[in-house]
Symmetry: C2
Subunit: 313 residues, 2 copies
């Protein structure tokens, strides 16, 4: 009980311990207990290709929010992030500096092992930070892959960061990133090609604006010089206001909770499956027959599923 | 029946139609029917960061295999690949040229929509190509994210392509890529930094070699000039030989089939879940209560799972 109390009081050690428990365990007892203390934190996803300067931006945003007396949880899922120890030593030292502030908690996520995977672990960590009384939870992800899209689902506002000198790879990522962006940031705005990128993005986002009524802002920042950060934080606040005003925040969060329930059910069933079958001789024999093409995996899966699942209610 | 016959005879139109059927449908009837005609194709994954020249390499390898009178299926999962229409026009035209050869079938995968997702769709497409009598199936993926790791699981040999001028991002990807590599390729081997990268990789791969007995080769290629391709193809053949000799091929393929059965069961259960619950008023009411923190998603998931799944056998 003492760890729960400490966690709810925002104790950093308790937060770290709880996240570790959640990360390494599939026992959901602690999540069950903290859940009713959650729902207050505002979740901001910061995503974009490697080298876009996401961590520097997260750093700058955090400092701005600290001045507003906010409590901030940072989760770095990007393996290239200095928060997660993936970048240059200089950056890492700078981040450690930030981590010492009493109103900031930084956690990097790397585990792949758990049943639910990285996205799941990140969502659980966010829940812990939420219960610990964070006003903002900033989740930094590298903008590629399904894991990142899954994590974006947990965020109220998703900020997509691009840089002017985008190569082919970034071009290719753009399409997918634009779909999830609420706010676009062109970072390193002092470099060549910035205006062209802004124009491109405006064009691309026009259609979405007509649908949603939210004027997807395109911000220019130079995070290393702290330029444009004030405006970016204002844009995040505006988006939050927009979501509340239009009822979207509640609607979105409910649909995310629905998704969460589905995920949890799938996870439980997966666990059940592994426990029931993975070491069974019977399945090994079936796989032998599948290998010899005497049986198909589809038929075997069909049969096992029928045995496992009750008929529809 | 006619489409199945045409498919088994290697008819391109039938292949394309079948993959589309599989991609857009979760009806597994056709997969069930073709499954016993599969298991002959050798699956090679080609993965690496954007800009590493994977497609040019796939192109060069394919031409080499064509000369050996092999039938080749190419699946491009990389959104930056010219095969999937993601790159420059010049590249795309060159690829189209290759696509016209009677012994080559090229397919790009992009769908995210299906229940099983992109990895699943790719595996199904590979199965169709296998049934159609391809000797080699080359699967090109961008080397990041869970989807790509899932796809790597279907490959007998995984070739990881890097380039000398690797930035931070590529450094960060390396760790994950090295874990799945059977053969390393340093492409654009005429550029500065090539030898340094080779040395780094040798160092990194030493440990794995001791464990597996396979001398993870590090090949230098310049795909645009067709240099080193012959040697790369030989290395793939050597790896195939090694897998057969040590019994690993059968063992690996069996464990992949086991995994496949598990995935299929999960997929079926997921489908069952969505059909049973997603439109139900009851669940919407539960989510309302979860949103108000009167209930936790964990408890709800627990309850539904118990209703859904029979007690362990």
């Amino acid at each position: 009980m003492s760890i729960l109390k400490s966690l709810l009081a925002g104790d950093k050690r308790a937060i770290a311990q709880t996240i570790s428990m959640v990360e390494n365990d599939i026992d959901t007892a602690i999540l069950e207990r903290i859940f009713r203390h959650t729902g207050r934190a505002y979740h901001v996803g910061i995503t974009g290709p490697p080298g876009a300067g996401k961590s520097t931006l997260v750093n700058a945003i955090s400092k701005r929010l600290l001045k507003k007396n906010k409590k901030i949880g940072i989760i770095a899922v990007d393996p290239t992030s200095p928060f997660s120890g993936g970048a240059l030593l200089g950056d890492r030292v700078r981040m450690t500096d930030l981590a010492l502030h009493e109103n900031i908690f930084i956690r990097s996520m790397a585990s792949r092992g758990s049943l639910g995977g990285l996205a799941q672990a990140t969502k659980d960590a966010a829940l812990v930070l939420d219960a610990a009384g964070m006003d903002y939870i900033l989740i930094e992800t590298i903008g590629v892959g399904q894991v990142e899209l899954d994590i974006a689902e947990v965020c109220d506002t998703t900020v997509v960061v691009l840089v002017p000198e985008s190569g082919d790879s970034i071009q290719a990522m753009k399409a997918g990133l634009l779909e999830i962006a609420d706010i676009m940031v062109v970072n390193k705005g002092d470099r060549e090609g910035c205006e062209r990128l802004v124009t491109e993005l405006k064009f691309a986002l026009e259609m979405r604006e007509q649908k949603s009524g939210w004027p997807y802002p395109i911000m220019k920042t130079t995070a290393t010089k702290d330029e444009g950060i004030e405006e970016l934080v204002s844009a995040v606040e505006s988006h939050a206001g927009h979501l509340v005003k239009t009822g979207s925040l509640e609607k979105e969060r409910k649909s995310k909770l629905l998704l969460r329930v589905h995920e949890l059910i799938e996870q439980k069933i997966r666990l059940h499956l592994r426990e029931s079958f993975i070491r069974e001789n019977e399945l090994v024999k079936l796989v032998d027959r599948i290998y010899k093409r005497q049986l198909s995996p589809y038929r075997v899966a069909e049969r096992i599923t029928k045995e496992l699942v009750r008929s529809s209610r």
